[in-house]
């Protein structure tokens, strides 16, 4: 009886090992064959494959157009319609060492201008068309707008 149980566990162990080896070797083969066929990809190309290109393009543009000590205002929420450009932690990672702050929950021009007045540390605003244009306000004299493409870019806040 005991030997039968031991044989059962040994058979189960061998079966379990085969199951594990099958699934892990499948992922391993997939990963290693990709690495073998794409050994020269740059870091940027690899990131584009994993996270998509547009957010990298936008944040690279933001980094080009703003000094490292900038404080950048992003949309007020990280839920729809600004799932990515309103994601505080993720945008913080890509634009580091620039600091990031959320904009006001109210999207009206008056609310945004008032928010900028009460937060003088904010130097730039990201411009995004992820779902809906934000901030949907006309630039004031003194604001410097730099667009990567229509609806996407960064504005330096005129003070």
């Amino acid at each position: 009886m005991r030997l039968t149980a031991s044989r059962s566990i040994a058979t189960l162990g061998a079966g379990g090992l085969l199951v594990n080896v099958f699934f892990t070797s499948t992922s391993m083969y997939k990963e290693l064959s990709f690495i073998g066929t794409h050994p020269q990809l740059s870091r940027d190309e690899k990131m584009r494959l994993k996270v998509g290109g547009w957010v990298l393009d936008l944040t690279a543009f933001v980094n080009d157009q703003s000094p490292p000590e900038s404080v950048i205002m992003i949309p007020p929420q990280r839920t729809a319609p600004w799932d990515v450009t309103g994601h505080f932690e993720m945008i913080s990672y890509y634009v580091y060492p620039r600091r990031v702050v959320h904009g006001p929950a109210n999207h009206s021009e008056t609310a945004i201008r008032e928010y900028l007045r009460s937060h003088p540390e904010i130097t730039h605003m990201i411009i995004t068309s992820e779902g809906t244009l934000w901030p949907d306000i006309p630039p004031l004299p003194g604001d410097e707008v730099h667009l990567l493409k229509p609806g996407w870019g960064i504005a330096k806040v005129g003070r």
Partner: protein, 466 residues
């Protein structure tokens, strides 16, 4: 290159710390080498945290000097206190029977297993070094904090956003260490955890059930699809699995051999698991409860106190720093705990996810299937030490369920993402139970009649149920 030197020094520091504090009577040289990296990184990142908390800047030079000085001091202390042999020969603990001959002279199965484990670890290392950090949580939390600490040489930024201050710092400080030492791929930390976990698992099972069981079950753990995947991903789950899984192994060694130093090591490793990931308390309770019951049965009331003290010594300073300096709560406080304790449909949904994960062989492999079959084949008995391990695993599953059930986040959001990853922590524990259950030990004896202690430690034999 400098980062590689730094990580080697961290492993040496860990090895010497274990040699000094535990010595060869409690841990063989192989175990100290296998544990050195994880213990060294855990303790050294804690020292980095202490230094940053009091305003010390961590330059490349200061880190290297600290590592060399600490290692030299520990080496000298070990030499004086434990003698020169502490660094050398493999020790056979007095309280345990000697290791079987095939552990010291691996047979063909062990050799094949070692080759497979090296191949798996190297493939994980290749994947980790190839891809930049891209996983969501790794980008926004662990690597972000590592990069910020390396550049700013301060923890002040953790106050800016409650999210950043809510998680313990071990992996982020590991990333900072690599970056300060001119490394560009902190991902390298994770395959090293994977290799260390496998080495410690192999050595423990070899001691408890013999080389053949060790070879087979270590390869089963190593080829668990989710574990291999996490060996190349900079998330906290694999380091947490290392500290929790290995901590449980040493607690189990205490159950088997009553060696108090193993329990203390288990407590330290459990403490380091809390330094890796938030919300470890209910999971640690899954080990602390069997420890308490076992200790009370043996009339050793101080054992659970010592175990929890070791855990608290590591966890408390960080919690106090969070509460009084950063003025943020831990992540479970950030996301909230449910006010209503009873919610039948929610509990049912949580248990449905749990059963789904346990049966998902494409992610969790066959370990859980083997665990439940082993459980059915081995009736629980007080005298069988593996019963305690089965208890720890089942309580761990209950603790996982409670962790998901009690938070305010929706089960549908939490369980399939971080919930499934979190469940990884029990894979080595469940596999250890399969490897040391009476059925597996008898199987090892049947397949290798001369396997010595592996067969002698049987629940039904005298002393087997120690």
């Amino acid at each position: 290159m400098l980062a590689l030197v730094g990580l080697c020094l961290v492993a040496v520091f860990g090895f010497l710390l274990l040699s000094c504090a535990w010595g060869r009577s409690a841990l063989s040289r192989g175990e100290r080498l296998a544990l050195g990296y994880g213990v060294g990184l855990g303790v050294f990142t804690y020292l980095m945290f202490g230094a940053l908390a009091v305003g010390v800047r961590l330059s490349r030079l200061s880190i290297l000097i600290a590592l060399v000085t600490l290692s030299a001091a520990l080496g000298l202390a070990t030499w004086r206190w434990r003698g020169p042999s502490a660094f050398g020969a493999v020790g056979a603990p007095a309280a345990e029977p000697p290791a079987t001959s095939h552990v010291r002279h691996p047979g063909s199965a062990s050799l094949a297993a070692v080759i497979a484990l090296v191949a798996l670890s190297l493939s994980a290392l290749a994947v980790a070094l190839y891809w930049p950090i891209w996983t969501w949580d790794a980008l926004t939390m662990f690597d972000y904090r590592g990069r910020a600490i390396a550049v700013q040489q301060s923890l002040a930024f953790l106050r800016h956003e409650a999210y950043w201050g809510s998680f313990p710092l071990l992996t982020s400080l590991g990333h900072a260490l690599v970056r300060v030492l001119d490394g560009t791929t902190p991902n390298v930390l994770y395959p090293l955890y994977y290799a260390s976990l496998l080495a410690v698992f192999y050595l423990n099972v070899a001691k408890l059930s013999g080389g053949l069981a060790a070879a087979g079950f270590t390869v089963i753990v190593a080829t668990t699809p989710l574990l291999w995947q996490h060996a190349a991903e900079p998330l906290t789950n694999l380091p947490f699995t290392f500290y929790y899984g290995v901590g449980t192994m040493y607690v189990y060694r205490w159950v088997v051999a009553r060696e108090r130093s193993h329990l203390l090591l288990g407590g330290l490793l459990m403490g380091l698991s809390a330094w890796t990931r938030y919300g470890s308390e209910p999971l640690v309770l899954a080990v602390a409860i069997p420890v308490t019951v076992c200790a009370l049965r043996r009339r050793e009331p101080s054992a659970p106190v010592l175990f929890l003290l070791m855990f608290a010594l590591v966890e408390a300073p960080w919690l106090l720093y969070q509460r009084y300096v950063l003025e943020v709560g831990p992540a479970y406080a950030l996301y909230g705990v449910r006010a209503a304790l009873w919610d039948g449909p929610r509990l049912l949904r949580t248990l449905t996810y749990l059963s789904w994960f346990l049966g998902s062989v494409h992610t969790h492999g066959a370990v859980w299937l083997m665990f439940f079959v082993s459980l059915c084949l081995n009736a629980p008995r007080w005298r069988d030490p593996s019963t305690w391990l089965a208890g720890m695993t089942l309580l761990g599953l209950m603790a996982w369920t409670a962790s998901i059930y009690l938070t305010v986040l929706s089960v549908e959001y939490l369980a399939p993402t971080s919930g499934e990853r979190l469940l990884l922590f029990l894979v080595p524990v469940a596999a250890l139970y399969c490897a040391v259950s009476p059925t597996a030990r008898r199987g090892a004896v049947a397949l290798r009649p001369s396997s010595g202690w592996a067969g002698a430690v049987d629940a039904t034999s005298p002393g087997g149920g120690r």
